[in-house]
Symmetry: C2
Subunit: 329 residues, 2 copies
């Protein structure tokens, strides 16, 4: 009797056994735009849901050039050497399937990608952020069901991708350079406030002193903000992904964070809130998609937006005009 590798029971059994091919195939189905693939992925995810949730979910973001890949390689290797199984995912709505995203080119995390305890998957790419975020969350759940007990989600930092990542992880890490406040670009607005951990990278050689100042600058800035958790205050650390300095302390900090916010009950609350927010963003995205595609609305949309942008109609009036044409109602 031939087994159909795409049949739900086989995928489910394979994933529960930690089989990487079943995992990869299920993630591919979840990323597909075909309705039959999505139905199958939905069935697999619903069945595996009780097997999910048992990982430390870590988001990592930072500006281009800060050394994210080198950091994830060093950090991920350390995590695996401590006996864990690590999945590394990415959110990059602009990536193309063939290369383009940082994780598309596995040579950039060569050592890590060769470890059998590591599972590295490029960003789904192609599509608006809501769809990419959904596919990444689903990939995360599937990885957890397959026994990966640490999941890192990296973001390239385009648009609102950091907010999307913060909405699906337990601990959000911001990687910054030793140049600190003198950095040409500065930290993209909205990200510092998301961070549970700030890591100053490249704290080696000539940059060690600068890294120390950068650490102090960021610690002072973070100190001005209201803490996100009762049981955890954002910490600022320095490391050198190249030499390994500070990597162990960062992993320890992750552990202290998880212990603290689990004990206070805040972690469970946060995950519950994230799931509810995910529900409403799915609903909202679908309603907006249907609205945009509606035959009564679609022909009027560009004109209405232009009228609003140039002040010819109030937004309330234009919204009313379009909603009146929403034929489904």
């Amino acid at each position: 009797m031939t087994r159909d590798p795409d049949a739900a029971p086989d995928l489910i059994a394979g994933i529960r056994n930690g089989d990487r091919r079943s995992l990869a195939r299920a993630i591919t189905l979840a990323e597909s735009t075909r309705a039959d693939h999505r139905e199958l992925a939905d069935e697999v995810l619903e069945t595996l849901l009780p097997d999910t949730g048992r990982s430390r979910r870590i988001g990592i973001s930072g500006p281009p050039g800060v050394g994210k890949s080198t950091f994830i390689e060093a950090f991920g290797t350390h995590i695996i050497d401590r006996g864990h199984r690590l999945a590394v995912l990415a959110i990059d709505p602009s990536s193309r399937r063939t290369g383009g995203s940082i994780l598309g080119d596995k040579t950039r995390m060569a050592e890590l990608s060769h470890r059998e305890e590591a599972f590295i998957r490029p960003s789904p790419g192609r599509g608006h952020l809501g769809g990419v975020a959904r596919r990444t969350r689903e990939a995360m759940l599937l990885c957890e069901a397959a026994g990966f007990d640490v999941v890192i989600i990296e973001t390239i930092g385009v648009g609102q991708s950091e907010v999307a990542v913060a909405d699906m992880v337990d601990l959000f890490t911001l990687l910054v350079s030793p140049a600190g406040g003198d950095e040409l670009q500065g930290i993209k607005r909205g990200i510092m406030e998301l961070a549970d951990l700030v890591v100053v990278n490249k704290a080696d050689g000539d940059l060690a002193a600068a890294a120390g100042r950068s650490r102090a600058d960021h610690a002072a800035a973070v100190h001005l903000l209201r803490p996100r958790w009762q049981a955890w205050a954002t910490e600022v650390m320095a490391c050198s992904a190249l030499t390994g300095l500070g990597i162990e302390e960062i992993w320890d900090a992750v552990g202290r964070f998880i212990d603290a916010v689990s004990a206070s009950g805040e972690l469970a609350e946060a995950r519950s809130r994230q799931a509810t927010a995910w529900l409403w963003s799915e609903i909202s995205d679908t309603l907006i998609d249907r609205f945009r595609a509606d035959p009564g609305v679609a022909p009027m949309l560009a004109e209405a937006e232009a009228a609003v942008a140039t002040g010819r109609h109030t937004p309330t009036h234009a919204a009313r005009m379009l909603l009146d044409r929403f034929t489904a109602h």
Copy 2:
């Protein structure tokens, strides 16, 4: 022939003449939940739209106890003494009509409320943030059409009200206390990144030295962030609303900001983007309201949310179940 003060042409004429009663009545109509009132308000706003936009729109936020009312009184009086006509609005989704909001009790801005060049209106209150924001924007447009050339929108800082205010003003001001980083509460996350101007209040007497340190702390923190504008870098200033120290410099800074971001074209772009975002949040809010109220969806909603919050269903699956029941489709 009796004039109907509620007829659109009379309201429009009255507002164009700067008549405060017509303005107040039009704002009340815009705040109403009655369909006929909203229709009338819509007609008035559409007709007056070309007369709007000619003000400096300033948002002011800060934690409780920082002295917002005292500041607005001092700042507002200075602005009027410079020959302007000032409207002061507020966003506080939790306020009750009879008192409760800071602006509900006009004795708190006694001097300002007696100036004929000032128009002070309490928050619409009652209702979710989206509705309150819409009514506040519409009140702002009506004030502009009535000739008020400076509009201050204050926020009490509940929920996401700061984001709503930042989305409708030109310059967002964050008021902080001299205690700076030692403040018990800290700045609510998400707000520092919105600020185009940070003002350390109460820089007088015993607190003068602390205010200076607070100014430096906030300036250093702001320096780490990417600027929101090409033509303007967020400034941090100190003032004493009680003594008047620094108030003139703050008003000068507002002027420099407006000049700079107007010249760079960024102000016009920002207002255009705000109008478009307002259009989509009106559409989205209405679609979600219709969805929640739908007879196929409403009975299932609480159960679906609970199932998602407790991990019995994936959010994607629950969203699909509810959307399938959305009878209008």
